[in-house]
Symmetry: C2
Subunit: 236 residues, 2 copies
């Protein structure tokens, strides 16, 4: 134990402020994704509307993070790891902002889907997928705060689960469309929703890679695991 009085540098105080904003953003994004999926599953247009309107708060927070980071750089002239940290915060904020956009899009599409008959139990699968990516984002941010490259590496690996769920849903939607053309429009929307959640998982991976870079100084050497195989897939 260090019994010296802890003198906090001005830079560290600034960083704590901006990190608090980042964590607030992360928490809003996590909620938005799962609430949007819940709005779909429960056919709750009010909840969907709240997610859509809430995205403006996430966007405003990203703007604040960027301004604060620029202020820190200008005022404190950080170098080496400090500078890398500030730049990482900006990158993570950009990832989170895009995740918020995906949640908003999901919420919008849910209000359309609520007007049509459900497609099997796909809404429940979407909700499961949303909860999985919520946990990935949470763990990626946790890895950032703890500077934990091991946890970050684990997030990258776990993203393949999300990809597998997406691939399974892709096939399921194809089957529903082929069985009954009246399912086509709903399945197109559901497919977009699944793809957008899969992209949120990719962004969690992106955040995790930023953490690995921050902690180890190098980006992961091996290819990022890629689980969406549908680009090479002629389907059912």
């Amino acid at each position: 134990m260090n019994s010296e009085p802890h003198i906090m540098r001005a830079f560290d105080r600034d960083l704590e402020t901006v990190q608090a904003m980042l964590m607030k953003m992360g928490s809003l994004v996590e909620d938005a994704i799962v609430c949007a999926a819940e709005a779909l599953e429960a056919r709750d247009n009010d909840l969907a509307g709240r997610v859509v309107r809430g995205d403006a708060v996430i966007d405003a927070l990203e703007e604040q993070v960027n301004l604060e980071c620029a202020r820190i750089i200008a005022l404190r002239s950080p170098t080496a790891t400090d500078l890398r940290t500030v730049l990482t915060v900006m990158k993570i904020a950009a990832y989170l902002e895009r995740c918020g956009d995906y949640a908003k899009n999901l919420a919008k599409r849910s209000t359309v889907l609520n007007q049509t008959a459900p497609i099997g139990d796909s809404a429940a699968s979407v909700l499961r997928m949303a909860k999985l990516v919520q946990q990935l984002i949470r763990d990626a941010l946790d890895a950032y705060i703890k500077r934990d490259a091991t946890l970050a590496t684990e997030v990258r690996q776990r993203d393949t689960e999300v990809d597998q769920m997406y691939n399974a849903l892709f096939r399921e939607f194809l089957t529903h469309m082929m069985e009954d053309p009246r399912n086509i429009t709903a399945c197109m929307h559901l497919h977009f929703i699944a793809k957008n959640i899969e992209r949120v998982g990719d962004h969690a991976t992106g955040i995790a890679e930023q953490v690995i870079y921050l902690v180890t100084g190098t980006l992961p050497a091996e290819q990022r695991p890629k689980g969406d195989t549908t680009a090479y897939d002629r389907g059912a």
Copy 2:
């Protein structure tokens, strides 16, 4: 005319270097998008393969831009507009990197589609759309180099054309799928391709907004024009 000998600041020299990398990236991304669409239209798997492999160069350039920008910040401690410029360069590079990913994805899907029967003249429509976003990216980067907020504003407006083309294609694909279920898989891939090109257009808009922010100091106040109405659309 200023007849004083022009003394270039070290910062400006550094900025020129990194801007040259950015322009190189832009040019590769523009080519990649159109080549990928040409590979689809001409059913040319070799061309598609070159686009897929070429994406690594774009990724490496983004990495270089980021390292160089961090070096400039650490070495020159830029403030005010200089700092904002360096941060803008990093943001633009991130947008371009993602556009490269979309081109790669398009190229991959084209090799799948080359194994199935063409869907009407959709490949030609995709190519037209790709050429439109190519021009948008070019103009957005031009607006950056010239610090031209008017051109940047125009890019934002023109992105609605891309959105309209996407919306038209979305309806076309729905029709093809409903007419013949054997079209469904190909249409799903084509739909993704169209959506990805539409997203490249959104990224051109994102770059344009960065330019407006850099030049005027404020982000465009009015809502970004949003032309993808399909999230609210129950389709045909």
